[in-house]
Symmetry: C2
Subunit: 168 residues, 2 copies
């Protein structure tokens, strides 16, 4: 899918089909994250690809706003180094790359922020000096999934050269 089409059409997906996603496609999603830009090219991130079904259920039980992780084909837990002052920005750049690439490959996803971070970090055996930014569940959208994308109009959020100066 064309990149511009991908960012324009991409929508949050929380309802997943039980269909499996090939491992090489899962790795393409990781690659998309790996290739993100970061401040001083520090790449202050660690990705845990979760595709074990039992583990997905355990993680979902610790995700206060992400029970649908249990139904995902796979998920990626993104950890970042909090000693890096750009860790939130850089981690987010990697995540957005993954979500856009996944969408272009036919996979929906959603940002899950409500997490029992300490417990999940321990469950995944990740050193506790890393910060769990988010867990993104990925999977083909469920057959009955109907997304409606609602956004403010460009005129509501963008101006030309100076705030208040309407775009042509």
């Amino acid at each position: 899918m064309d990149a511009l089409d991908a960012v324009i059409t991409k929508i949050e997906v929380r309802e997943f089909s039980p269909e499996e996603v090939p491992y090489d496609v899962q790795k393409k999603v990781l690659e998309a994250g790996r290739m993100a830009g970061s401040a001083y090219n520090r790449q202050p991130w660690v990705f845990i690809l979760i595709n074990d079904k039992d583990l997905l259920k355990k993680v979902a039980a610790l995700a206060t706003t992400g029970p649908y992780i249990s139904k995902a084909a796979f998920a990626v837990a993104v950890f970042v180094d909090p000693n890096n002052p750009f860790h939130i920005i850089d981690g987010t750049r990697a995540v957005q790359n993954m979500m856009i690439a996944a969408w272009s490959l036919g996979l929906g996803s959603v940002w899950v922020a409500g997490l029992e971070r300490e417990k999940i970090t321990e469950l995944l055996k990740v050193p506790n000096n890393l910060y769990l930014l988010t867990i993104i569940p990925f999977g083909k959208p469920a057959k009955n999934f109907k997304g409606k994308k609602r956004r403010k109009s460009l005129k509501e959020i963008a101006y030309l050269n100076y705030y208040g100066n309407t775009l042509k």
Copy 2:
């Protein structure tokens, strides 16, 4: 350009061609940002499209790490609402959308973080309750631009199910 190719090949560009970029292309970049996902769909962002040459120079003079803003065809200043707990994440998602879409349209860009934020906010007449996340200069890469993308290998940054468990 295919979305996966775009995120894989996209590289930071700081050297711009003097070539103009049509206004409708500039607006496509804004559209890519507008369509980003955000927590609770709050869209806590304001974009200032800067394409006035004098203004680009003035902004560049206030960008401690971004003098090349003066040579950009246009730039987008991204402001976010700091009262929204997800303002850094959500603003970054919009920026990453813009950078990927721009790259697929033949435009380079780079994240500029070193900014005299108060002075730029005043210059652009933006209410000072908004936070200037970044200014992104956009333009066709200079003819002599040669980018080399260096990233850690996937095995250095990604694991399967548990930290330390090597990817197949």
